[in-house]
Amino acid sequence: MAPTVLGQFEHQVLLAILRLGSEAYSVEIVSELERSTGKEVATSAVFVSLRRMKAKDLLLDRMVEPGEEGGHSRRYFRLTEEALDALRASRQSFLKLWDGVEAALDEPRPDTP
């Protein structure tokens, strides 16, 4: 079966989880996304994306009950094999697209101030 095609935001969310280690929960994902993109992230978008990717079998989740210090239970997300395949395929196609055009970006474009 061909790997799932990822949307840009899905791509970012999956990468954020990978950067955080094997698994991560919502707060960590939001913070990591903001750190890596340098922009404020809509929490709602992250939740919608997580739910969709779980429905597409790209993510697995498990609940972790609060420890001794109290607080809330957390839902930790982990990438499935399909997700890794999808990321690989995505990276591959981007690299193919970028091949030979990087140099063009080094030239300053005439209309850029």
Binding site: V27, A42, S44, A45, R75
Partner: protein, 885 residues
């Protein structure tokens, strides 16, 4: 702490909103995530920035919210729905002209209904603010000569009815009358509810402060006490919580405050003060009809059974006191019905008219959508061939309809807000419970439901024209031509629209015709717009004797006459055109010849000049007679006819109960209309006010009594400009004396037509809307038809048809729609005109002239609406239209 401030956690309001927006499966997760991120932000960026961030996040969830988003399964359908809704919105935005007309049309229809429905909800449907209001009944008298029931009863009769009834668990006797309330600067005239002590207990509305009236407050010689309304408590006492025990000056005597009513208390005539009946100086004779009762039904009893029981008791009272009770009957009706009274009929009628206007609007928009669907056949065919199912098309049309319906509803509600304010400010005085009218949750809910229904209805209309099997053909054929069945439906819609418009316009026409006739009725007063009137009440505490009253009146008369511009001044016990103060008059010594409901008018010398009534025979009263020297009287034409028929009334003596020796007729004057606009002028007799004062002097007067009278001042100039001078003239005699009901005689004449004017003007507005919508409908269909047939027109003209014949062709086509519509509409109007009932005056529900005029108006409208498309048809260039194919 408010929701906007920040303490330890996220803003509460935003958090609550969030709980509504996120489904249960994710709610805790989302909530704790946002809370944790929020805390981080407070530490990093400060509380204000964190709060703003939190709100933005909630906004993000709101933007992604889907109403049916309960589980994973819901996504696909919802996505399709939102896609269609967005598509609907986009395609409507792309056709701004169409959208504007459709939304505006629906807004007119929905707005009119919202306004009328809020009137109906506020007056007819809202229960009275009493305890178990459905168990309250209103007790009144009736006489066949006085248009049935609903008149006043006398105190002794009511007391006997109370004593004998077993179906009433409690009851009270009351009368609402004006009184002078002294304030810091001057005095104001306020309505006072004079009642026997159990009234508030019967209504189930205990005072919010202080105590209720007790039977001892209503006993002879009791200290006068009063309960304030919330309104008066705030305006006069600044909502002083210790008001109980303070005193107010009512009719120049101190009255102790014993309590304050709840804020939402209302009663007939909107009284400001509640006092014991005892302090009215009440007429306690059995013939003194001026009172009514309010009773609470015993458990299990209903008004009908109570009426039967009371009538049984009343029959006994008639046998016992035939001279005052003969011919009368007694009745109990639900209090709610009494309060709403005459408004019910007109409001329901207007509701019907508004519903018709909405129906016309819907037909109109459905028609527009049909035409639009016709133009979009190609797009639909493409969609269909790309795999769209019929359900997909349903959803597409439905979403467009819903967008139109909701937009129309929103705009309609906005318009209704303004409309209701205008209605209440114009007609508040003729509407029962106008204070309760407004757009509330119920009204908004009904409007939303209406908008959705309308949206679904108009949205589905085009589907009747879209058949999958035909769509295939359209793709092959191109955009040519329309299917015959489709145009037939469109034509039927136009016929229906014209017919509905005719019904509304005919109703308005009949009402306008009645109003015109009512205004043509000769009221018997000359140049009413030049006569300023006001009423005065002279409390017995300040004017204890007839002599003091006569002196005050005489001096005031002199001061008013000396005012520049004043032509005549008259005083009378009750103004013309308002009714009231009736009695039965007999021919002296002949009990058989009598006239019921004859107006009693005691007057001063200038009265007839002020009103402008001509003398028909005999003579005016003389100066001596006005000093009360003799017992002469003037009667009007109607009374002369009722009592004496063809005999000469001059020199005859009439018998009026309470006037010893009767009155001798010395003159006959023309009639003046009474209080009921649809009834002929009542009989009346006029006698000197001094005679009445002399009679009053012989009767015992309690300290609580007052002398009420009205003044009429005829002026040569602008009557309103006279008002300050009038106040000054009254103030010069008694600085604390308030003038009330300051208005011209013309105002009184206008007010008497109150409910009718209200019904007519709203009906007129609806008729205007119906005509407007009808015009738009005919125009829309005709211009589409002309556009469709451009090629045919081109061919016709290329073959030598003249412009005139093309014009006739188009106008003829329009007539084929209008004429059946008008005929159907006229039949419908004739069948339904009877519901106008008592609002019609000297106009038959089948009035030929009205219907002929309506038909003519509709014909004109249809020609006007067709003119532009027809003219366009004559401009068709044969070459262009042929080439376009």
């Amino acid at each position: 702490m408010t929701d906007w401030e920040v303490g330890s956690g996220p803003p509460k309001l935003a958090r609550r909103l969030l709980a509504l927006l996120v489904d249960e499966a994710q709610r805790d997760d989302v909530d704790s995530t946002l809370a944790e991120l929020f805390r981080e932000r407070v530490a990093r960026d400060g509380a204000g920035a964190a709060t703003r961030w939190y709100w933005r996040q909630v906004g993000g969830f709101a933007a992604r919210w889907r109403p049916f988003n309960t589980g994973m399964g819901g996504w696909t359908t919802m996505d399709m729905w939102t896609r269609d809704l967005r598509h609907g919105l986009r395609s409507l935005i792309r056709a701004p002209g169409f959208t504007l007309i459709a939304v505006g049309t629906l807004a007119l229809g929905i707005g009119a209904n919202t306004a009328i429905f809020s009137l109906i909800a506020g007056t007819l449907l809202r229960p009275l603010p009493y305890d178990q209001p459905e168990r309250l009944v209103w007790l009144s008298d009736g006489h066949p000569n006085f248009g049935g029931g609903g008149t006043n009863q006398s105190v002794p009769n009511l007391m006997d009815l109370q004593a004998g009834s077993r179906l009433m668990s409690s009851s009270a006797i009351y009368r609402v009358l004006g009184g002078n309330l002294a304030t810091d600067e001057d005095a104001v005239r306020i309505p006072i509810l004079f009642t026997s002590s159990p009234m508030l207990g019967v209504l189930g509305v205990p005072p919010r402060l202080g105590r209720d009236l007790l039977p001892t407050d209503d006993g002879a010689g009791a200290e006068p006490v009063a309960i304030l309304t919330d309104d008066l408590w705030r305006s006069t006492f600044g909502a002083d919580p210790d008001v109980v025990g303070r005193t107010v000056q009512v009719d120049a005597r101190p009255v102790r405050v014993i309590g304050v009513l709840p804020r939402d208390f209302t009663f007939e005539d909107d009284p400001k003060l509640v006092m014991a009946l005892q302090h009215l100086g009440a007429d306690l004779s059995r013939g003194g009809r001026g009172y009514n009762g309010v009773a609470r039904l015993a458990p299990g009893a209903d008004p009908r059974a109570l009426t039967a029981e009371l009538q049984g008791i009343f029959s006994g009272l008639t046998d016992e006191y035939p001279q005052v009770n003969e011919g009368w009957f007694t009745m109990a009706e639900p209090l709610q019905e009494h309060v709403i009274g005459q408004n019910r009929h007109s409001l329901l009628l207007l509701g019907g008219a508004a519903a018709l206007v909405l129906l016309i609007a819907c037909v109109n928009v459905a028609n527009l959508l049909l035409v639009r669907a016709e133009r979009r056949h190609r797009e639909l065919a493409v969609r269909y061939s790309l795999g769209a199912r019929r359900s997909g098309l349903v959803s597409l049309f439905l979403s467009e309809g819903l967008v139109l319906g909701l937009a129309g509803g929103a705009l309609g509600v906005a318009g209704a807000y303004g409309g209701i304010d205008l209605l209440v400010s114009l007609y508040g005085s003729t509407l029962a419970r106008a204070d309760a009218v407004g757009i509330d949750g119920t009204v908004l809910g009904i409007t939303l439901a209406t908008s959705l229904l309308v949206g679904i209805g108009v949205g589905l209309a085009p589907l009747t024209r879209v058949r999958p099997d035909e769509l295939q053909g359209h793709l092959r054929e191109g955009a040519r031509g329309s299917s015959g069945r489709g145009s037939r439906l469109g034509n039927a819609l136009v016929v229906a629209e014209v017919a509905l418009s005719v019904v509304v316009v005919a109703g308005a026409g009949l009402l306008a015709n009645s109003m015109w006739r009512l205004q043509q009725v000769d009221l018997g007063v000359h140049r009413a717009d030049q006569v300023m009137t006001f009423t005065l009440s002279l409390p017995a505490a300040a004017y204890p004797t007839s002599e003091t009253i006569a002196q005050f009146t005489g001096e005031l008369d002199g001061r008013l006459m000396a005012t520049p511009g004043v032509e005549a001044v008259g005083f009378v016990n009750r103004l013309p055109l308002v009714g009231g103060d009736n009695t039965t008059v007999y021919v002296w010594g002949d009990e058989e010849r009598k006239a019921d409901f004859t107006s009693i008018r005691s007057i001063t010398p200038g009265y007839f000049d002020a009103v402008g009534v001509p003398l028909l025979s005999g003579r005016w009263l003389t100066e001596d007679e006005f000093r009360g020297e003799t017992s002469s009287a003037i009667i009007n034409q109607t009374l002369a006819r009722q009592l004496f028929g063809s005999e000469d009334p001059l020199g005859q003596r009439i018998d009026v109960r309470g006037i010893e020796g009767g009155l001798v007729v010395v003159g006959v004057v023309a009639d003046i209309a009474g209080g009921r606009p649809d009834r002929p002028a009542p009989g009346a007799f006029y006698y000197p006010m001094r005679t009445r004062l002399k009679l009053a002097a012989s009767q015992p007067r309690s300290a609580d009594d007052f002398w009420g009278m009205a003044a009429l001042v005829r002026t040569a100039g602008e009557p309103q400009a006279l008002v300050p001078a009038l106040r000054e003239a009254v103030g010069a005699g008694d600085p604390g004396m308030p003038l009330s009901y300051v208005r011209t005689l013309q105002d009184i004449a206008t007010d008497r037509l109150g409910t009718r004017r209200f019904a007519l003007s709203l009906f007129g507005v609806f008729a205007g809307l119906a005509l407007l919508l009808g015009t738009v409908g005919i125009y829309g269909v005709m211009s589409y038809s002309v556009a469709q047939r451009a090629r045919e027109m081109g061919v016709r003209m290329a073959l030598g048809a003249s412009r005139g014949s093309v014009l006739r062709l188009v106008l003829g086509e329009s007539a084929r729609l209008t004429v059946p519509g008008v005929i159907l509409g006229l039949l419908g109007a004739m069948a339904s005109a009877r519901v106008l009932g008592s609002l019609l005056f000297e106009v038959s529900p089948l009035d030929l002239w009205t219907y002929a005029s309506v038909a003519a108006v509709l014909a004109l409208v249809s020609v006007a609406a067709t003119w532009l498309p027809a003219w366009r048809a004559t401009r068709v260039d044969p070459m262009t239209s042929m080439r376009a194919e």
